[in-house]
Symmetry: C2
Subunit: 338 residues, 2 copies
C-alpha cells in the first residue's frame, strides 16, 4: 500500500465485469441460469482450493441490515441488493476481494484496498480471474473484448477507481471545475454519499468512464494521473488554510472532534460532516487518531453497521443514539487501531 497518499486517498478499487459465454445475459437470465452462474463460480473456486477463503452471501437469505452492512463496506453494490432473488456474492475472508454474481453481469470481481493501491489491486484481481478462467469460459469477442450486459462495460470490462477525500476542494467550490476537467480526460468523478447536492463526507470516487479502446494499464495510468493532480490541488489548499488561517482550520477540526467524542445523538448525515473534519485533522497531524481508525469509523458509524452492532432493530432516535455510543467507543480506544 502506498501510505504516502493516505491523506487524500481513502481506498482503491478495481472491478471486472465478466459473463459466462453460454448463459443468457441480464436481463434475459432465468432463475435457473442464475443458479448455474453461482454453481460454476463455486466449482471454479473449489477446483482452485480457494473455496475455504470465501464466504457465500445469498441476498435472498439475508435481511436488509446484513445486505446494507456489506454495501457500506463496499463489498457488494446497491444493484446487487436490488437483485434480492438471484443475487449473491463470494466475499474473501480478508474482505479485500468480492465476487458478485447475477448483478448486472454474471460476475463482478472486485478488489479493494486502503489508500492508493491500484497496481496491487490489479495484480490481485487478474490472479483471481486467471484462476477462474482455467475452469470456465467468459464471453469474449476478438474485436470488442469481453462482452457485458451493458455495452458501456465491454472491452476490458474493467473499472479502476480511487475514493478521494476532498474537503478543501469542496469548501473552495472547485468541484464544478474539477468535474469538467476530469470528464475531458475520459474519467468521471462523483460523490460517494448523496449525489446531486454537496457530497457528504466530502468523499468522491474518480474512475474511468470508458472500458473499450484502452488497455488495462492505460486505464489505471489515467486514473492515477488525474488522481495525483487532485491530490496536489487538495494538499495545496490544506496547506494554505493551515498556514493562512490556522485558528479557523483548527477550530473546525477540533469542534467536530469534540462533537464526535461527546454527542449523545447524531444523524448519519451530520456524522459524515464531522468525520470529514476528523480525517482532515488527522491528515494535518492535529488529532490523536490514526488514519486507519478514521477510515474504519466511516463504516462503523453508518446505519447498517450500527444496527448490526445493536443486535436488535433500532431506528430513528435510537439509531442516532447507538451511533454515538459506537463513535465514542471508537475514539476512546487507546491506540485507535482496529
Amino acid at each position: 500500500m502506498n501510505t504516502s497518499k493516505r491523506d487524500v486517498v481513502v481506498s482503491s478499487r478495481i472491478r471486472l465485469a465478466r459473463n459466462y459465454e453460454d448463459l443468457p445475459f441480464s436481463p434475459g437470465e432465468t432463475a435457473r441460469s442464475a443458479e448455474s452462474c453461482s454453481q460454476r463460480t463455486l466449482e471454479a473456486l473449489s477446483a482452485e482450493n480457494a473455496q475455504a477463503d470465501y464466504i457465500l452471501y445469498r441476498m435472498n437469505e439475508m435481511d436488509d441490515v446484513e445486505r446494507y452492512y456489506l454495501a457500506e463496506k463496499h463489498l457488494i453494490s446497491f444493484d446487487l441488493i436490488r437483485k434480492s432473488e438471484t443475487g449473491s456474492a463470494y466475499i474473501r475472508k480478508d474482505e479485500q476481494v468480492s465476487i458478485m454474481m447475477n448483478e448486472e453481469d454474471h460476475l463482478r470481481i472486485q478488489a479493494i484496498a486502503a489508500g492508493e493501491d491500484l497496481s496491487n489491486s490489479a495484480l490481485m484481481i487478474y490472479r483471481i480471474e486467471d484462476a477462474l478462467q482455467k475452469h470456465v469460459r467468459f464471453a469474449f469477442d476478438t474485436k470488442l473484448g469481453y462482452l457485458t450486459a451493458c455495452p458501456t462495460n465491454a472491452g476490458t470490462g474493467m473499472r479502476a477507481s480511487l475514493m478521494l477525500h476532498l474537503p478543501m476542494l469542496t469548501a473552495d467550490k472547485q468541484m464544478g471545475i474539477v468535474n469538467q476537467t476530469v470528464a475531458k480526460l475520459g474519467l468521471i468523478i462523483r460523490g460517494i454519499y448523496g449525489e446531486g447536492s454537496e457530497a457528504l463526507g466530502h468523499l468522491y470516487q474518480i474512475s474511468n468512464q470508458a472500458t473499450l479502446g484502452r488497455t488495462e494499464e492505460e486505464i489505471i495510468r489515467a486514473v492515477l494521473t488525474v488522481g495525483d493532480k487532485l491530490i496536489d490541488m487538495e494538499r495545496a489548499l490544506r496547506l494554505k488554510a493551515h498556514t493562512m488561517e490556522p485558528v479557523k482550520t483548527e477550530d473546525q477540526i477540533f469542534r467536530s472532534y469534540g462533537l464526535l467524542k461527546y454527542s449523545r445523538s447524531m444523524p448519519q448525515k451530520e456524522f459524515l460532516s464531522h468525520w470529514s473534519n476528523l480525517r482532515l485533522g488527522i491528515s494535518l497531524g492535529r488529532l490523536p487518531v490514526t488514519m486507519d481508525s478514521a477510515d474504519i469509523l466511516l463504516e462503523d458509524a453508518q446505519d447498517a453497521h450500527v444496527m448490526k452492532w445493536a443486535g436488535s432493530p433500532v431506528t430513528g432516535d435510537r439509531l442516532d443514539e447507538r451511533r454515538c455510543a459506537r463513535i465514542r467507543r471508537h475514539l476512546s480506544r487507546r491506540n485507535n487501531g482496529r
Copy 2:
C-alpha cells in the same frame, strides 16, 4: 452558604444606597464634593482599622480592561464605569464586599455571595454600614427613610437580588409569564446578559422593585419566596426533561461540553449558551466539573477577563481564540476547583 439551592441560584447580592447628608446629591455633585465623599469613606474605614482589608480602585486611574474586569465580577456597576472621572470603589480583598463611591449615590455598599445566601449577605452589609455610621451621618428622613439621588431607591435604600440560572424555564417559553407573575409580587426579573432578546446564559436577576414601605426583612423574605417558587418550577422542568427525554437532554449537555473542551475560537455570546448547558449538566450530576468551577468559568471566559489574562491587547478573532485557551485550561484542571 445554602448549598442546597446551588443548582439554580448562582449568587446572592444585597446593596444599600447611602448619601452623606451634607454633600450635594448626584447630579448636583462637584469634583470637590465627590473627593470629599471618597475621603470620608477612607477615614471611616481607617477609624475601624478595616482599611487594610480593602483596595481602592479609582476609575480615572484605570483602563477599560481593568474596569470591565471588575464589572464582569459584579464588583462594580456599568454606571460606575460611566462616572470615569469621579467614580471609585473600595473592594474588600475577599471580593465579597464592595463600596462604590460617586455612582448614582454617594455610596453603594454591596455584599455578594455564591449560592443562596441573602441572610448572611444582609448581616455582612449591615455590620459594615454600622461601622461607617459611627463616623459619618447619612441623609435620613423619619418618614421617607434613607434619602437617595433617585426617589425610587429611598426608604431602606436596599436592593436584595438573586442571580438565577433558568435554562429550562427559558426553553419552555415560560419567562414571559414568570415576568408578569413576579411583577405582581412587587419584584422584577431581568436577564443578566442581553436584555430584550433571550437572556444569554439563561441567567436572570430577581430583585425587589420598591425600597420604600417594606422593611429590610420583608424585602428579603419576598425575594426568597419568589426565588423558591422559581427554583421549584425550574427543577420540575429539569426532572421532566431528564426523565422523559434523557438522550435529548444529555446530547444538549454533552455537545456543549465537547465544544467548550475542544473549540479553538468562540465568541462570548456562543460561550454563554454552552456555559448554560454546562451548568445544567453539572446540576443533573452528568459532568465531571464542580459548580464552583463552572461559576468561576462564567467570569473567567468573559472579554475583560480574557484580555487581562492575555496581558496584551487582544480583540476580535484573537480574543475568541484566547477565550478558548482559557476555557480549555479551566475544564482540564484536575479537580476543577479554583
